[in-house]
Amino acid sequence: MLARAHTFTIEGLQPRHVTVEVDVRAGLPAFTIVGLADAAVRERVRSAILNCGYEFPGRRITASLAPGDVPKAGVALDLALACAVLAGGGQIPRSLLDGHVLFGELALDGELRPCRGTLAVAEATRRDRLGKLVVAGACAREAELVDGLDVAIADSLSSAVRVLGGGEQDVARVETGGVAKRCAAAAPDLHEVRGQDHAVRALVIAAAGGHNCLLSGPPGTGKTMLAQRIVSILPPLSRAEAIEVTRIRGIVETTTGGLVSERPWRAPHHSITTAGLIGGARRDSIGEVALAHNGVLFLDELSEFARPVLEALRQPLEDGRVAIARAGHSTIYPSRFMLLAATNPCPCGYAGVVERCRCGEAELARHRRRLSGPLLDRIDLLAQLDLDGAHDRTTPAPISSSQARELVAGARERQVARLRGAGVSLNAHMDAGLLRHHVSLDERGEQMLRAAGERGLLSARGRDRVLRVARTIADLNGSHSVRPRDLGSALALRGDGGLGGKRAA
């Protein structure tokens, strides 16, 4: 007898509909699965069926997973396969399987376990109008984020069968320690940063306009400390952004505990590989850039990262997405993030302090070469930290996170209002055409830009970056036009300003 069940497998970020067909015929007992599934599926399904008190059909069972040419990684097919086997063996009516999507992993005792990618699957179920989604209790809150989707919770194979028959669903267990909670718990505050007012101001500007920002300073001056606090001054995620973040997070972590409300903050170690950063190491692996989507990607010790890894950041920074092509498949990941990088000004870190800097000219040149180039071309702002400031324990902090958050939110509101209909909402994402339209300089400002060009301080691309930052500074000041003062500050903060290489007395 033939039974058919529906489920999904995750390919990159995309859920892919899989039809599980099971044919149970007379013959020598055998259980054959065709269609490129993981080998272990068979054993889990057999044990779960037996341990739940059902009978495993002692006949010839053939299961086919369609489309047959797509490898189906992951364990989420278990529930659909088990139910199809039961229906094929006549233990439950075949018609029950229609109008249900079964998504979950089975334990050997028949318990239903949460699977990665629930939100994406829930959205696809709703989109394709496949009916009710049956998932484990732990990922129910994630599935329920999709409006108008019927979600049923089952804790085991037998409850799933009961739900299929129209019976009572299980009660969702409240998950504690989900990602959302973890983030909210220990968000450090900006008022703990003392003596680095200049860098703090630069960071607020970066947050307000979504600009990529480089933190530069000697070791121990608080680059990492400052960077960690940027999350606390960014505005909360909008619902649409939060859904995107949850979807991506849900594919990496089994349970996200519902909607993720905090901005993503990713800080990979500098030994990361290109595949780790961009994605595509295994068929379905997601890179750090996608995980940082709508959030912040922090690269500490920027000069220690391998050159090819940094080069690979160009597309995501430019397009806000990254296309991975591997043999047999290609995937597009969204990756619109704010890049925050930290570096020492020279290999020893004390460039400019004669008594301490031990770097030779060649070392400085090498350091400069590593940093400069295409990546630095996309960094709008330089936040410079100072050695003397690091010892300052008495001056009060210039601003607390909540004050900064208000400033940032105000500036972002003005940006959104101005850029309405342009397809972007942040100054950092304005292209040359939008820049011309939204940034008008007075005579004095034009003159400053011309002078900067003539002195060789600004390239054409650098000019655009300075204008974007100037626009953000004006937005922070609540100014409608970009005044020379805003432009002057933007010039002083420009991203390539920190790359002078010689010793300073």
Binding site: D388, A451, P484, L499, G500, A505
Partner: protein, 372 residues
């Protein structure tokens, strides 16, 4: 035996070429002796026979035989490299004296070399690890001196010498003294600089062509640079024999030595301050050097075209940067309106009065239109 006219590339006499060959043969022992103060200069002043006696060790007998068999053809391999020996009229007169190399190998023709050395020559010497201030001073001095028709001499190494050559090749001629043979490629970082120097100026070396750079060459080049120059200016040097080598040789030769002061707390300028204390002439700019060469003509606090017309707010920021508040953090600490300070910094940078140095620090520098 003077060179015949027309045979520019092969004009050195056999005796001088043999001396250059011998010195190159003794590179190993010379390397061993180049660390001790002044010993290298003394060794290189010895006559041939004593040099072999002093340095050749067990190779003494073999080297004497090869020395006796030497023919000038052994050094005549490469086209386009002129050999100017001390008996040649084109040999820089200032070099006649103790310890000067017998033969100079030059990448230009000897006429050019004598033209370049016929002008007053000023050597700019100092550390290979220059601070932004030192490099900026060297560049300004090189630029100003070259613009006034002076030949700027220096080694072809990083730091002060490089900055001096860069400045000088913008406005006039400079003379580079290379370590190693003329056809041995200089370090990649200074290859294009050498090209610019050779366009108007000249590059010379005491090593025969194809001789690789050796450790002793660097110390020996300092004595040629100082020997060529009428005035030697230490722009920035720590208080070490190596960084003061040029000034020491110049003083030993009885030439005028000048030094550019730095901040007294800065280790990078300690050597210069030691020279000043011992009687070196204080050099504040190209004008001071020209005064040394040609005598004092006029009071020379020249008006600075840009700086003197600065608005007070910009001037005060510039002065504070000059006083050591060189990072935005230091400058804006406690400022009521940090944005205005940043704007002032940008404006000064646009005027060319400030530049960004190591780690993004601000360095005061002379505007381009304030030459000499």
């Amino acid at each position: 035996m003077n060179g015949e006219p027309g045979a520019a590339a092969h004009s050195a006499c056999a005796q001088c070429l043999r001396r250059s060959w011998l010195v190159a043969q003794l590179s190993g022992p010379l390397d061993c002796n180049c660390r001790a103060d002044g010993r290298l200069v003394d060794l290189l002043a010895l006559p041939d026979e004593q040099l072999i006696e002093a340095l050749a060790g067990r190779r003494r007998i073999e080297l004497r035989q090869r020395y006796a068999r030497f023919t000038p053809e052994q050094l005549r391999g490469v086209d386009g490299i002129a050999q100017v020996c001390m008996h040649d009229p084109g040999y820089p007169p200032a070099l006649h004296g103790s310890g000067a190399p017998a033969t100079l190998f030059a990448s230009c023709d000897p006429q050019r070399l004598s033209r370049v050395t016929a002008r007053p020559v000023v050597a700019l010497v100092g550390t290979a690890r220059a601070t932004d201030y030192g490099a900026e001073m060297a560049r300004a001095l090189g630029r100003g001196l070259a613009a006034s028709g002076v030949t700027v001499a220096g080694e072809l190494v990083g730091g002060i010498a490089q900055a001096a050559h860069e400045g000088a090749s913008e406005t006039g001629t400079s003379l580079a003294v290379l370590a190693g043979g003329m056809d041995v490629a200089p370090p990649a970082a200074r290859r294009s600089l050498l090209g610019r120097i050779e366009r108007d100026g000249a590059a010379v070396s005491e090593s025969p062509s194809t001789t690789p750079r050796r450790q002793w060459n660097a110390a020996a080049a300092a004595r040629i640079v100082a020997g060529l120059a009428e005035v030697t200016v230490a722009v920035e040097a720590e208080d070490s024999a190596r960084e003061l080598a040029g000034a020491t040789v110049a003083r030993a030769l009885g030439r005028t030595v000048g030094a550019v002061p730095g901040r007294v707390t800065s280790r990078a300028s300690r050597g210069c301050h030691a020279l000043l204390r011992d009687g070196a002439v204080l050099i504040r700019g190209a004008g001071d050097v020209l005064d040394l060469l040609y005598g004092v003509e006029r009071a020379h606090e020249q008006p600075h075209a840009v700086r003197d017309r600065l608005e007070p707010r910009l001037r005060s920021v510039l002065e504070r940067v000059g006083a050591g508040l060189d990072t935005p953090q230091k400058l804006t600490a406690g400022a009521a309106r940090p944005a205005e300070l940043l704007q002032a910094l940008s404006e000064l940078e646009l005027l060319g009065l400030l530049a960004r140095g190591a780690g993004g620090r601000y360095v005061p520098c002379d505007a381009i239109d304030a030459r000499v």
